[in-house]
């Protein structure tokens, strides 16, 4: 088990970010002619285990004590597996899940760690050159990790999703013998409050429509940003200005300190284009900006710019798309 992929899942299927991490892991593992193994943690994992086995061998730690991903417990289990199996590299998608857990694992197993990787050149066997954005994406750093084990998180947006293995290829599954008594018990999970939405997930959507400060209430946000997102079957996002104002939930924030997205189409409504916001969406394939200020910085990053009031433009777009 040289290369391990820490999976994120919803109990049924692997998240897209995990499949992108798997792409990188396959590349890394191929240097030694091996294949990555997918690590699943949680409770009642039968369904997601079947999904994961379409992509490779699987290790499963399935226990009621792992029902919630608290860093203390998850890191303890992952560190045990790394040590016991002699894992050389662990790869995962960059997300709040891995940002919470994996640095802790790195400390416990004394691993070099590189996060938010956007390019990985595994041409040489011993030296893998990695790249990651720094300074809110104003610069790119190229670096190498020394020693083993190594921990790498990758930006899903930068890599394609891995394809399932051919059906003929059999995969196996190892149930990790968990020592439940040894798990730490100093963190109690109380609850998770998420604003449910029937739109696609922000990090995975083909189209993202985001709104900025001119939207003055949740109702306005739903009407304009939500309205256009629905017309384009996309996800809704926002700038920090709206999260700070309590108009949109934090999990919709795009940017340096929010989510990083790279959809086919990103529509920025009333967004000035701060470096912190651009850090989260600049790699979108096509960017459209709607702004009353013809000199707004967002236009220098957009493929298409429309100067005008979003309150007039969005209803026109929604009507035209409905036709």
């Amino acid at each position: 088990m040289e290369t391990l992929v820490l999976a994120e899942h919803d109990g049924k299927t692997l998240r897209r970010g995990t499949l992108c991490a798997l792409t990188v892991a396959r590349d890394l593992a191929s240097r030694s002619g091996s294949k990555p193994v997918i690590l699943l943690l949680g409770r009642e994992l039968a369904a997601v285990r079947d999904d994961a086995r379409r992509f490779g061998d699987v290790v499963v730690a399935d226990h009621s004590l792992l029902a919630r991903p608290t860093a203390e417990r998850y890191a303890a289990v992952i560190a045990d597996i790394i040590r016991a199996q002699g894992v050389r590299e662990l790869v995962a998608a960059a997300s709040t899940f891995s940002r919470d857990i994996l640095p802790r694992v790195a400390a416990v197993v004394d691993a070099a760690m590189g996060g938010d990787v956007t390019a990985c050149a595994a041409a040489e066997a011993e030296r893998v050159e990695l790249q990651r954005p720094i300074h809110a994406g104003a610069a790119m750093a190229s670096f190498v990790l020394h020693g083993t084990p190594q921990i790498i998180t990758v930006r899903a947006a930068a890599f394609p999703s891995a394809k399932p293995l051919p059906e003929s290829e059999a995969t196996c599954c190892l149930d990790w013998p968990l020592n439940a008594d040894a798990l730490p018990d100093r963190t109690e999970f109380v609850g998770l409050e998420s604003r449910s939405t029937n739109r696609p997930e922000l990090g995975e959507a083909r189209v993202v429509v985001s709104g900025g400060r001119p939207l003055r209430s949740s109702e306005e946000f739903q009407a304009f940003v939500g309205g256009l997102a629905d017309a384009l079957q996309g996800a809704a996002g926002c700038t920090r200005a709206l999260v700070d104002a309590g108009i949109a939930p934090n999990e919709w924030q795009v940017g340096q300190t929010g989510k990083v997205v790279s959809p086919e189409l990103y529509v920025a409504l009333g967004i000035s284009g701060s470096v912190q916001h651009l850090a989260g969406m600049k790699n979108s394939r096509v960017i459209v900006a709607v702004n009353t200020d013809p000199d707004a910085p967002i236009f220098s990053l957009a493929n298409y710019g429309l100067v005008g009031d979003l309150r007039e433009i969005v209803p026109q777009l929604v009507r035209a798309l409905a036709r």
Binding site: E72, L102, P103, A107, P133, E193, E251, L306
Partner: protein, 251 residues
Amino acid sequence: MKLLVPIKRVPSADEPVRVRPDGTGIEDDGRAFMINPFDAIALEEALRIRDSHPDGGEVLAVCIGDSEVEAELRTALAMGADRGLRVACEASLDSLSVAKILAGVVRREGPAMVLAGKQAVDSDAGQAGPMLAGLLDWPQATFASVITFLEDGRVQVVRETDHGLETLRLCLPAVITADLRLNEPRYASLPAIMRARRKPIETLPVADLGIQPRSRVVQLRMEQSTMARECVRVADTDELLHRLRSEAKVI
């Protein structure tokens, strides 16, 4: 209660970051620096906890670096930290080395809690906090937006995750990292800045912690990213939709 807050000096957000032509780092000649914004939030929270705790306490601000970082330590003292400690170290450090140094300071000082920023806005790594928790084997809560003390001595933390707001309860001692919405850091008043000049800053050579930092994340070079695109200004929504359909083929 004794609270420890690590402080990092980062380039000020008011000027764009320029990479040196030789790719060894960013242009820092004459540029302004500041406390990493998330560290300022962590410090503000520590000050509020100290001031609202019946038996008071002490807030210790810790910087790692050469003597230049004392400017940020002075700012932390002006905001209200009781003491400043600089771990003198010239080497360039990866996150795990930083966490090891901080763990050494924690073992020496014995705080009940470490409040750190969730990430530094220069390296954007966000690793030092949870690494420190791992080295100390303390519970952790990253991306905190609300911190409350419970009667039973535990601390309740609301965390901002990709999937919504998660609430955890931790036994102390613990490491908590601050997200943006935890609070609005105060500005230091002029009298506070004057008073801060008299507050102690201790310097501790990194070797005195018994640590020889050795970075295993080795940067090869840095490049300026270019993000600019050729923007087609469209006249109206009809032209926009037409171009999105026939030219960009995204809808």
